[in-house]
């Protein structure tokens, strides 16, 4: 244990990232973005775990691979021991299909970044949280073990779950959200908004509301209704001549944003985004986002919170009032400032400082 933490402060603390690098979506993108920040604050090691969730191969999400190459960081696969002052494990749900973590973690501070909501709307567990945390707990020796929520909604699910599971009280919750860094270059909103609507997501059932709600969100009278990631609707042979249904990743996101002025994003009512990267991307692209209040909570006034039944009126109002449209888009981009690299760096620095204080003590 002593040897593991015998690094000199001059070269910065040792930071270990633990992730299954094969997550294709927001988790890998978020880790990629924060590695750029973390690399300037300490000696970073990235530990890849091949979890049962993704099988045995060694693929790495492209966004993560790009950053690792850029920073010259090696990816250490399935190390039997991970030791650092600060160990950051992203998305504990990757352990949900296996009985053990499969190694040891030695840390002063172990932070588990939640990424996924612990509870679904209605209070049902999103995954076997207790088992995943227990696997990490059993595998780790740390002075402090924390859970880092990624948004206010995510925090609420974490705290509610912890309150209902006293056996997990050894885990504390970080005060600040471990948000996704949203440093996309902002695009100015259009001066002449049109009733061009769209949504994009992975094609999972959880990402889509009931068909009746989709019909409300994307009516025949809209100039355009573009659904990117519509694989499920296509497979189900849903016929809506006024919809442009595109398979997931069939067009570049930039091209897709060129086809719409409004992101109308609702999910299954039994599921919630934990952060909502899809919303952040749309805001950065200068679009106005309409979504349900819970999903939009992380973005505050940056999105228009509404129900599917209220979408039409809201869009009509903004199409008729381009200035209001631009103002709303601007509010969205202003909110994104709160998810900047700089803001994240400040929070990470504070965390590292806390670890250092603990070491000095």
């Amino acid at each position: 244990m002593a040897a593991a933490f015998d690094a000199t402060g001059a070269r910065g603390p040792r930071l270990a990232y633990v992730i299954d690098p094969r997550f294709a979506g927001g988790t890998s993108a978020a880790v990629a973005a924060e590695l750029r920040v973390a690399a300037g604050m300490g000696r970073v090691t990235v530990h890849a775990r091949r979890s049962a969730m993704f099988g045995a191969d060694h693929q790495v999400a492209p966004a993560l691979r790009e950053v690792l190459d850029e920073l010259g960081l090696p990816l250490v696969w399935d190390a039997p021991e991970i030791a650092a002052e600060l160990v950051i494990l992203h998305n504990p749900a990757f352990l949900k299909f296996q009985p053990e973590f499969g190694g040891r973690i030695l840390a002063r501070h172990l932070v588990v970044v939640a990424h996924e909501n612990f509870l679904r709307p209605g209070g049902v567990e999103g995954f076997d949280v207790g088992a995943c945390l227990a696997r990490i707990d059993r595998a780790s020796l740390a002075l402090r073990k924390s859970i880092a929520p990624v948004s206010a909604h995510n925090r609420a699910t974490v705290e509610t779950w912890l309150a209902a599971n006293p056996a997990a009280l050894r885990w504390d919750v970080l005060d600040s959200d471990w948000f996704n860094i949203c440093d996309m270059a902002p695009v100015p909103p259009t001066d002449a908004p049109r009733d061009r609507r769209g949504r994009h997501s992975r094609p999972g059932f959880e990402k889509f509301p009931a068909l009746a709600d989709l019909d409300r969100c994307f009516p025949p009278h809209a100039e355009a209704n573009v659904i990117l990631g519509a694989d499920m609707l296509i497979a189900a042979q849903v016929v809506r001549p006024h919809w442009t249904m595109l398979p997931f990743r069939s067009v570049e996101v930039e091209a897709y944003f060129g086809m719409i002025d409004f992101l109308v994003y609702f999910t299954a009512p039994t599921w919630r985004e934990s952060f909502g990267r899809v919303i952040a991307e749309a805001l950065a692209a200068g679009k106005v986002v309409l979504t349900d209040p819970d999903t939009g909570a992380a973005f505050g006034p940056g999105v228009l919170a509404c129900t599917p039944a209220e979408v039409d009126a809201a869009i009509a109002r903004l199409v008729a009032d381009p200035a209001a449209y631009r103002a709303q888009a601007a509010r969205g981009q202003a909110v994104l400032a709160g998810f900047s690299t700089g803001e994240f760096a400040t929070r990470l620095a504070a965390l590292i400082a806390g670890v250092a204080r603990g070491r000095a003590a």
Binding site: G126, A131, T270
Partner: protein
């Protein structure tokens, strides 16, 4: 209606749907399976099993949905679930055997996403920690309703064979020995290969069904003791059978090599692995204590954990009505006897049934289900008739029409009704309906079959009938004995009796002369049959040609209404075609009848003493008309002409019309001693069959 779905698409999953649907239906629930999910390659047995539950998607009015096997849920099933757009008032229950909490949460989440709300998910592993099949999709639950044992006069034993059960020398002989015991009933469940082997052997009359031929619910309902051989529990269907039986107070005997039932803690008896030892074990240890053993099984905690009521409650289903039915029950009405005659070559079966129905005692109500060609005749005789669908090459499956028959019978028959079947081959629809509804059933079966596999199958199915009424032939050498036993009742020939008053005869001949504007001295009737059996055009043309030079003869070709008539017959000067259900009246007025040698025509000719020339049909699936015709010819009661022997026909006709042959026949017929007709006796036997017997 309760929609029963499976979370995956496979034969095993579809079996689970069928089994659970049958269980719910037996509890009195209105159950549906989405017809859109019907597998394209469904086998025959499962097709019948599914048919009562299939509802087209647009006709589904779902009041509850039960999703089976949620531990392995497929995206296409989720997509279908999402498309259903069920309202919030429709309870959704999913069952599964989840490996761990994550599997449970994962499945629950997937369903919730597709549904847009939370389902109720039951982990069957909690209530059944040791199910008979580890990952069974079938819930393996049952209605806990012990019944008095044995169910009938003697205990019913059902034996499920292991895969190598027939490999041992003498195995079939031992089974046949058990099947022959009068102290218990016996049936085998075997795989298709084993059944084929049995049917091809000298033991072909062993009662055997395949694992998929009948629903496990039906098999359990007719079984007291279920003995299982082989390695492991032989699939979910047999596991369901065992569970249903135990919950109903029946006895399961584990004769498997690995003690598959016992190892799961099921309250079963340990039986001998050697089938040769089964019978003494049953006799000495089981049958004598049947009721007590069954009661213990039914009361065991293992069976309590498999109570179907738990799932019903979880699914929010209303308590089932008291009277279980496979399909919506027919309206309450007095019991009736439903006659189902096949149509065979002509309308003989239907006609015979109407004769027997006419003879039913006062207070008995008769109705019919029959193929279209028979319906007008039956209705004309004063009976309601449910039309059935004729077999057709246009149907996708050769048994498609019989599936419809099965459905229609199910919707028509009410508890307590009797079913009387008249035909040679017991259709699957009859076989299943009688067993599933535990109907008192009677088989009117004539003999004189050519040897062949269809007769073997028919006899195998004899066991479902409480009584077999065998209308005998008039002459003893024609009465082949295809079986003996307490259920088989030979009766005298069943035929329609007409009145032969000379005044009536003369009046009819006058009316015929007027009707056809052709005075005649002699009336010749030809009724050679035909139908699907054989084309009689050549014979009819020959007869018409032979009679054409005789201006004093009126030749009537008599066929059933709707029968195909060769157009060439209309060209002859003294031949006319008559489509009628009253052929007997015409024959009574005739000087000579030229007839096929079917049972009805021959006996009507005999009993009404009508001079006749018989031209037997020889299609391979008919009864043996040649033997019947020969019997008459050898006694000098009629002349017989082979189908192709038209040259001789000319001479015989001349002898009948110009010589003394007709008179000779008439004299011989007047002197022949015939057994008493049997319609009245048949009707009494039917009336005695069933609850009031």
């Amino acid at each position: 209606m309760i929609l029963v779905e499976a979370a995956s698409r496979s034969q095993r999953a579809y079996d689970a749907q069928l089994i659970f649907a049958a269980q719910l239906a037996a509890r009195g629930h209105h159950v549906a399976i989405d017809a859109a999910g019907l597998p394209a390659d469904l086998d025959r047995g499962r097709t019948y099993e599914a048919a009562p539950f299939l509802v087209d998607p647009e006709d589904l009015a779902v009041t509850a949905l039960i999703l089976l096997g949620a531990d392995e849920i497929e995206d296409r099933v989720l997509a279908a679930l999402r498309d259903r757009a069920l309202g919030p008032e429709v309870p959704v229950l999913a069952t599964g055997r989840f490996a761990d909490h994550q599997a449970y949460l994962g499945a629950r989440g997937k369903i919730a996403y597709a549904l847009g709300r939370e389902p109720r998910v039951i982990d069957l592993g909690e209530s059944q920690p040791r199910p008979l099949i580890a990952r069974a999709i079938t819930p393996l639950v049952a209605a806990r309703a012990p019944r008095p044992r044995p169910l009938g006069r003697v205990p019913m034993l059902t034996v499920a064979l292991g895969g190598s059960a027939l490999d041992a020398p003498g195995a079939l002989a031992r089974l046949a020995q058990m099947a022959g015991r009068a102290t218990f009933g016996f049936q085998l469940i075997a795989n298709a290969g084993q059944k084929d082997l049995i049917k091809a052997s000298r033991y072909h009359d062993l009662p055997v069904v395949t694992f998929t031929e009948l629903s496990p619910v039906t098999l359990a309902a007719g079984t007291d003791v279920f003995a299982v051989y082989g390695q492991g529990v032989p699939g979910e269907r047999m596991a369901a059978l065992a569970t249903c039986l135990m919950a109903a107070g029946g006895v399961v005997i584990d004769c498997t090599e690995d003690r598959a039932f016992l190892s799961q803690g099921a309250p079963v008896l340990r039986g001998p692995e050697d089938p040769a030892a089964l019978e003494p074990y049953l006799t000495d240890a089981v049958f004598v204590n049947l009721a007590q053993i069954g009661a213990q099984m039914a009361a065991s905690p293992w069976v309590a954990a498999a109570d179907i009521a738990r799932l019903e409650t979880a699914a929010g289903l209303a308590p089932p009505p008291a009277a279980p039915m496979l399909a919506p029950a027919a309206p309450t009405r007095p019991r009736r006897t439903l006659f189902l005659p096949t149509n065979g070559v002509g309308l003989g079966h239907a006609q015979r049934c109407t004769v027997i129905a006419d003879a039913l005692p006062e207070g008995e109500t008769a109705a019919f289900a029959a193929f279209p060609s028979c319906v007008p005749m039956i209705q004309r005789r004063g009976y309601d008739c449910l039309p059935l669908v004729q077999k057709s090459e246009a149907h996708p499956e050769p048994y498609a029409n019989d599936v419809l028959t099965y459905l229609r019978l199910g919707r028509t028959l009410a508890p307590g009704d009797r079913l009387v079947f008249d035909g040679g081959y017991v259709f699957d629809s009859i076989f299943r309906t009688v067993l599933e509804r535990d109907l008192p059933a009677v088989w009117i079966r004539r003999g004189l079959w050519p040897q062949g596999s269809s007769s073997d199958i028919a006899l195998d199915r004899e066991r479902i009938f409480a009584r077999v009424i065998v209308p005998t032939e008039a002459f003893p050498e024609l009465n082949d004995a295809y079986g003996v036993g307490p259920r088989i009742h030979p009766v005298g020939p069943v035929l329609r009796m007409g009145q032969r008053a000379d005044a009536d005869r003369a009046g009819l001949r006058e009316r015929l002369a007027d009707r056809f504007a052709r005075p005649f001295d002699r009336l010749v009737i030809s009724m050679l049959g035909g139908g699907v059996a054989s084309d009689r055009t050549a014979q009819l043309q020959a007869i018409a040609g032979m009679l054409a030079p005789r201006p004093d003869v009126l030749h009537l070709v008599v066929v059933w209404p709707g029968a195909n008539v060769p157009s060439g017959l209309y060209a002859w000067p003294n031949t006319r075609v008559v489509q009628t259900f009253e052929a007997l009246s015409l024959c009574l007025a005739a000087d000579l009848v030229i007839s096929a040698a079917g049972y009805n025509s021959v006996h009507e000719i005999l009993y009404h003493r009508i001079p006749a020339v018989l031209i037997p049909q020889s299609a391979p699936y008919l009864d043996d008309q040649t033997r019947r015709a020969q019997a008459l010819a050898e006694r000098g009661l009629a002349e017989m002409i082979e189908e192709a022997d038209l040259m001789r026909l000319d001479r015989v006709l001349a002898d009948c019309l110009d010589g003394g042959a007709a008179e000779r026949f008439r004299t011989a017929l007047a002197a022949v001693d015939l057994p008493a007709p049997g319609a009245g006796q048949a009707a009494r036997l039917i009336a005695e069959t069933g609850g009031d017997a």
